[in-house]
Symmetry: C2
Subunit: 369 residues, 2 copies
């Protein structure tokens, strides 16, 4: 206890506390700052600076060697004064490069998406690219629309978390010669020169099975929701199926599609009976950990007492739940960074340094097993 003793009715400021400002009501309205009839073009800038559009264009593209210091200064000043902003549409129409990378994810409300996006942005923003993000709601038809939309935008590259495994879906991308990175989803065919970044689903799941066996578990209940044929839950499921069979364990597979939490609670209760073998529940992705916890709560089941619990991806909340949840944690930010680096490589060198990238999963110890 360091000694200060606050007094009632007085705000104690601990660090940075002097910064509570008065929050004024909004009164002020910003009006137009310049009387402007029409949009300012390069032509206008050229006219005002008394030079040709070529010179202004050179200025914009950093070709300073192609003009005198005098001219450079003049042009710079006019651009400044006019607050001139070159039109990206016109620029990209000529240069055939938009400096935009399109990103298509299955479900933006899955935290996975925002972490992925953050990772991608981390590497591409310093390189002066922007991101256009679309979410398909895991609908293949919408995915196709999104692909075409971004192709029409003439994006310099495309990063997709695919929802369908149909090679035809990629045709528009291939035909447009657009660099492509496929992330997270499992597809059987990828375009030439595309990169594929996924987690080490199979090895990590197998290792977990072995660990559960060693810890004395004899039954694994997977909780999945495989809406897409490309879902990374499928290899995890397959690994558990394969491994449990090999180790002589039972595998109960619960797929929650179309079911509510009550249904899941009932299934879990079934698997926690007194005569059941030692059982661990294994949600195969972050949002399913959430649903599983809800169901466990509803069923009045405790872990690790009634059931063991281990999950993929807790989005960093698991440590506060019970004594901490045992985890297979993916580094989504890293997946995003690798996807971003790959797309830049393809854009700049025509091909990625690696076409198949598998990102390792970390085993985080908890007290739920």
């Amino acid at each position: 206890m360091s000694g200060h003793m606050p007094q009632p009715g007085k705000t104690i400021l601990v660090e940075g506390g002097g910064r509570i400002p008065f929050i004024p009501p909004i009164t002020h309205r910003i009006e137009e700052t310049m009387a402007r009839r029409k949009t300012i073009t390069i032509k206008e800038v050229a006219r005002m600076a008394g030079v040709s559009v070529t010179t202004v264009s050179n200025y914009l593209n950093g070709q300073m060697a192609r003009m005198s210091a005098d001219t450079r200064e003049k042009v710079g000043k006019v651009i400044e004064d006019l607050h001139y902003q070159p039109s990206s549409a016109a620029q990209s129409m000529r240069s055939n490069s938009t400096k935009i990378i399109g990103v298509i994810v299955g479900d933006i409300s899955n935290i996975f998406s925002s972490m992925l996006f953050g990772g991608i942005q981390k590497v591409i923003k310093p390189r002066n690219y922007s991101l256009m993000l679309l979410s398909t709601g895991n609908d293949p038809a919408d995915e196709n629309l999104c692909i075409n939309k971004l192709i029409r935008q003439n994006v310099d590259g495309l990063i997709i978390q695919p929802t369908q495994d149909d090679p035809e879906a990629f045709y528009p991308i291939v035909n447009a010669h657009t660099p492509l990175v496929i992330v997270d989803g499992i597809v059987k065919a990828t375009p030439k020169n595309a990169a594929h970044v996924i987690s080490d689903n199979t090895p990590s799941s197998k290792a977990m099975c072995r660990e559960l066996h060693e810890r004395g578990y004899r039954r694994i209940v997977t909780v999945s929701e495989t809406t897409a044929p490309t879902s990374s839950q499928l290899p995890r499921l397959e690994a558990v199926r394969h491994c449990t069979a090999k180790l002589g364990m039972e595998h109960v597979m619960l797929d929650v599609r179309g079911h509510d939490d009550a249904w899941l609670a009932e299934r879990l209760r079934e698997n926690a009976g007194p005569d059941a073998p030692r059982t661990a529940v294994f949600p195969l992705m972050g949002p399913l950990l959430f649903r599983t916890l809800t169901a466990l709560q509803a069923a009045g089941l405790e872990f690790p007492g009634d059931l063991g619990l281990v999950s993929f991806d807790d989005w960093n909340w698991g440590r506060f739940i019970g004594g901490g949840v045992d985890l297979l944690q993916r580094d989504i930010d890293e997946i995003g960074r690798l996807a971003g680096e790959s797309i830049l490589q393809i854009i700049e060198q025509g091909h990625p340094e690696q076409t198949e990238i598998s990102v390792p999963t970390r085993r985080i110890a908890g007290h739920s097993l």
Copy 2:
């Protein structure tokens, strides 16, 4: 217990279980599907269909009345065959509309951002707009760059979670006549015809203070991290300051900027001494609840025993922590939807239906007080 009794070594399929497919290694590589020398243009389509570019343009823009059924079919077929995709750049250059709405947030890794994005997309996607998302890392200079970037993109509208309260920051937007919605951040001046969507920070915080007082708490420790002068934590802080003073309570304000979790743990321990008045900790945003929980854990403090706990925004994890965390929960999706609706109104009618929108916060009962 519904009767099935799994056998070791056998996978029990509960619902949708037959869907584990064989995951093949990637062998197939998609090659180009069409030999194409150059990009297909409207001119090319016109030539192939034996019509003029005007007719093709009319087709693209749904002006079917301006051509015979025969022509329509012919054009449609050629477009189909050639997989023709009109260039958005060229279109927007002429039409002066991009169907793109720019979104600028302070920190994409804050779940707030992805939920906001999801809400916005929910209303604008059906209206055929796309989103371009940029994250500034709460850096005002970068925010300005982002604004200019999107202005150059000629976005049809801009939604900003502002990091700075300088009216000048909005000048480029005003000058470009770009519709603007300000979200979450508190600013003293907004452009004319802009909408401002925020949470009911002050009323909800005050109500919480009164509730804490009624429950017998006599000291509130706020945990804040006010990096931006626009932070919505500031009105919350101000409300707590004002209300505690009025009710004769103590207010200890902890701002974690530049401090680690150990520091926070120590400060919390100070406020949980045996001679301390009854104290509640109040993290002012979701990520701070996370840090506070970490610190409480490190300090070996329990809630509600040692300290009461109530927080803004738990991102739906609070219910699994302890007996459930008491909350002031914002509906971020709703904030996003309102922002999206506002920007569409401004785009289409020139002004929003409401300029100042305050979204209510829900009080969710837990067992942490």
